[in-house]
Symmetry: C3
Subunit: 290 residues, 3 copies
């Protein structure tokens, strides 16, 4: 599990400062056959602040995600990441700013990333990844089947109608001899058209970096981003991020943050930045794993 | 905990094939007094596919079940099985077909079986079982008290009115010297009248079998069923099931399945069959415990 | 975790006797920095009977509570106790009667105590406690920010409007050389005015005692209470409680109970009493921790 709390500032909110609060517990079951095939199942319990109004609540368990892995092959089923979210080939989120990662490399990208969480889903995702040497390929299929609306009645929360949709994603990645990884993800969704992302990331001494470019039918301009992490010492790092492009009128997003390890799995972190709507964001707090 | 996933087919559904997904975690607390009285409490977290429409979600913890046991006596209270569900005297479910047990021995029976789960209940069940030598007796009492309807309003999910109801069940069982167990359960529910079941089960070499007959005020014909399991090898078994009778117009239900242990608590299983409505069902998948 | 079950009687209910059922599991994450700062996060899963109508259900995880402690200082944030509930300086609940503590020392007090639980909250609480030698001081701040009402619609449970509110509490405590602790809590809530409580508690041989007096803008008469626990033997204790005052027309509340340890963390307990509305209450059951 993991937890974090601290202060977060968002210029766009009526109550600008909130007390950020999050606790996450993943419950994971693992089994391995005599032949070495590994099976996993997991779901998540989570508690958060609900908004900037100081209201707090817990939720979960969410829908479960399953995985089968054997040698270089891994198949995920259920409440699982699609290729773009998975980071299999492209690091879509880069080096996030602040202890809440309020700004990430995907800031000005409209890519259809779907991930695991403590919630329910209207769809089931299947993803397969195959790794051989320095090369990897992933493919995911996410199918939403049509559902009729359900009216609210005593004991029945009701739901809106769900439209059928299909999404295919393909990812290809290659790691160079110097450790630099290059990757591409192509996505085709019935409801939202095509999307493609090219990414590059690696480390050079104390510096880690990500560079990404992408575009799709759901945005007007090409999106670009770069993020960097510099290890000032064994405990302290500074990170910076910039992203631009996307929908018409989007602002350049940028941010600067730091992380400082306190030992025992505890990290003090914070940052300040501006998002693609031009709002100033900042945070400062601690996170820890257990 | 346990988990399973795979494919399930149901002819009666608009989307005939679903991706079966289930993860279950029972959280159990145990304490034992100096005098050797064992106390248990448990509740369940679970995630499932919700329907054949690919929607998935988690739920729980459900209501808790408690148990006190000492010597041959065990008392269960709360969200617990009644006598028919418990298997104390009659194996009401037999050898189920498929990795989801889509067809079980109770297929054509309308018996009032109530079990533990990740849900809430409108009633509280109390069951006592006493075992002495080869003989066992169980009695359960399930009381539903009247509740007024609650209207839906902001923050209140509402509920339908609950009618008062009472159910008594009595089970008697005896195990013969050759390991064959014979048992009977009698149930009397205010709202649904009488029900009785006679069962017989055991193993002979590589063969396990269950035979059951039952009838009640809520069905027109006597119900019968037989299920069999044959251990082909130490890892592989084949099972078959047939059930008939019940309500007017019910079809004969039958099925054939297999289970194959892969080691490490992982089982590959599948089956095909036809239910009491004449629909073809089939599944194939893996299950594992952790 | 902990669990309890048994019988509880309440004269004021239509169904006077209920089957008390409770199971609680706190999930706690702990980390400690190299400098010795301890961080904690926790949330709770819980199952209970819902009412005297035999309906039972589970809930949670609730909102999370966080804590940072270092030396004599401890700061709690989120779903946490305010000063009055915490027991830091005043034991607001004393020696409760019965295995469900159906009657506690705060019976005739209207003090604004807020605690941790398996539920969500409309507010966030921050409490700091500092202990130095025999002296301790605590201060808590609980802020509720205004929220607009949300209408019920499919998939949206809705909520009533929440009014802004602020509460400050200050507690001071001192422990005498003989172990007797004296403490005071002062509370100021925008919506409910002032409240103060003075308490005294300690042990003398086999006897434990609490005495408390309090008053506030939300009640007409000064409230007083005393509770006592007498250890008859190493396993068995008897406790008694009396409380009076509070709102106009409140009855004197009183009760008598016992606890008997059965070993292994199991306790048999029960009691009988009368609450501030003049209703007779009683219970008998077991509780255990695991």
């Amino acid at each position: 599990g993991s937890a974090r709390f601290g202060l977060a500032y968002d210029e766009s909110q009526a109550d600008e400062t909130r007390i950020e609060q999050r606790m996450r517990v993943n419950i994971t079951g693992i089994a391995e056959t005599d032949a070495g095939v590994k099976l996993e199942a997991r779901f998540r319990l989570e508690a958060n602040e609900d908004s900037h109004a100081n209201d707090i609540s817990g939720r979960g368990p969410g829908a479960a995600g399953f995985a089968v892995s054997y040698g270089g092959l891994r198949v995920d089923v259920g409440n699982v990441s699609n290729v773009l979210d998975s980071g299999d080939q492209v690091d879509y989120y880069g080096y996030g700013i602040g202890f809440t990662s309020f700004l990430e490399a995907n800031s000005n990208f409209n890519g259809p990333a779907t991930g695991f969480g403590a919630d329910s889903k209207d769809f089931t995702t299947i993803k397969a990844r195959y790794t051989v040497g320095d090369f990897s390929a992933s493919v995911s299929y996410k199918e939403t089947r049509a559902q009729a609306a359900v009216a609210v009645s005593p004991g029945v929360g009701g739901s809106l109608a769900v439209a059928a949709d299909e999404e295919w994603q393909l990812g290809l990645g290659y790691t160079l001899a110097n450790g630099m990884a290059i990757g591409a993800v192509y996505s085709d969704t019935d409801s939202a058209g095509d999307y493609w992302v090219l990414g590059l990331n690696g480390t050079a001494g104390a510096v880690g970096y990500t560079v990404m470019v992408g575009d799709g039918d759901n945005q007007q301009d090409v999106s670009v981003s770069a993020s960097i992490n510099y290890e000032v010492s064994s405990a302290t790092s500074i990170r910076a991020l910039v992203a631009d492009g996307g929908v018409t009128g989007a602002d350049t997003a940028y941010g600067l943050g730091f992380r400082h390890g306190l030992g025992g799995g505890v990290t003090l972190a914070g940052g300040v930045g501006s998002d693609s709507s031009g709002n100033t964001l900042a945070d400062l707090g601690v996170s820890f794993s257990f």
